[in-house]
């Protein structure tokens, strides 16, 4: 567990460490990478203004929770349902397989929001189920079981088009 960081350089370090993961997480919620990037920036700029992560005991989980709240607040304000943007890439694919990257984004977009959150948090956010439970406000068991269902659905959605991971 990371302790609360008291100064701006520590917050900027956190951004360098987790910024990419947070943008992918926000992209999965919003569906649009540019807006996701803006939301993550806003979260960090607020943190920089405040100068600390306040009462956070787990900085990484706190950051994901902050981004999630910012996305949800933004969605409430704008009151609109944004479809997943298929144009801008979220990932650097292995072997520059950009078709697979598009396929992955499409498959993520096909998941329910609950499943999307838990998959992205665990695979690309590299959060434990305990941390995911903290971010989503559910029990760790719920997070784990939601993840298993989500992974199965994601695999099915991607298998429908191709199965490159069979050789991974």
């Amino acid at each position: 567990m990371q302790q609360a960081q008291p100064d701006s350089s520590a917050i900027e370090t956190l951004y360098r460490q987790h910024g990419s993961q947070l943008v992918v997480f926000a992209s999965a919620l919003i569906g649009e990478r540019s807006r996701a990037q803006d939301v993550v920036h806003q979260v960090f700029l607020k943190l920089l203004e405040r100068g600390s992560l306040s009462r956070a005991t787990d900085a990484k989980a706190y950051l994901f929770a902050s981004v999630r709240n910012a996305v949800l607040n933004d969605a409430k304000v704008r009151a609109r349902d944004v479809p997943l943007d298929t144009e801008s890439a979220w990932f650097d694919p292995p072997d520059r397989d950009y078709a697979a990257e598009r396929n992955l984004r499409r498959a993520i977009g096909a998941l329910s929001e609950d499943q999307r959150e838990v998959v992205v948090l665990h695979i690309w956010g590299e959060l434990t189920f305990f941390q995911i439970a903290h971010v989503l406000g559910v029990s760790p068991n719920t997070a784990a079981s939601r993840y298993r269902y989500a992974l199965a659905r994601l695999r099915d959605a991607m298998s429908a088009r191709e199965e490159p991971y069979a050789n991974a």
Binding site: G19, V23, P93, A152
Partner: protein
Amino acid sequence: MPMPDDDQFERYLRQFRPIIAEPLPVGSRRPVRLWLWSLAATAALALVIAAVLAIRFHRKSATPVLTERAPALEQLTSAQPLTLRHADDLLAHATSYASAMDGLAFQSERIQVPPGSESALETLGKENFKP
């Protein structure tokens, strides 16, 4: 426990690395703040300079007015004390009664009546006019 194919699938998914996030716009925000502060400081300095210049200009422009008025004041102070005779003269030569009274009132505020003499206004004040 995840199934073995889940592990394999997870490994495959982890090969997709999140694209590097754009740098925080911290560098651009700080200069903007600094720029705003310097702009505000410059504006404040300009206001102070303008105020100082305005005060100086006002003093310079006020000084000639005082010197222009000075002879008139001297004339008033050096004018003869207002006596009954002088008042009669004023009434005789004034264009109207009101302007004569104004002239008397104006002089009475500024001219000190020498000891032993009596102000025309005081004398007139003692008179019991009948309509």
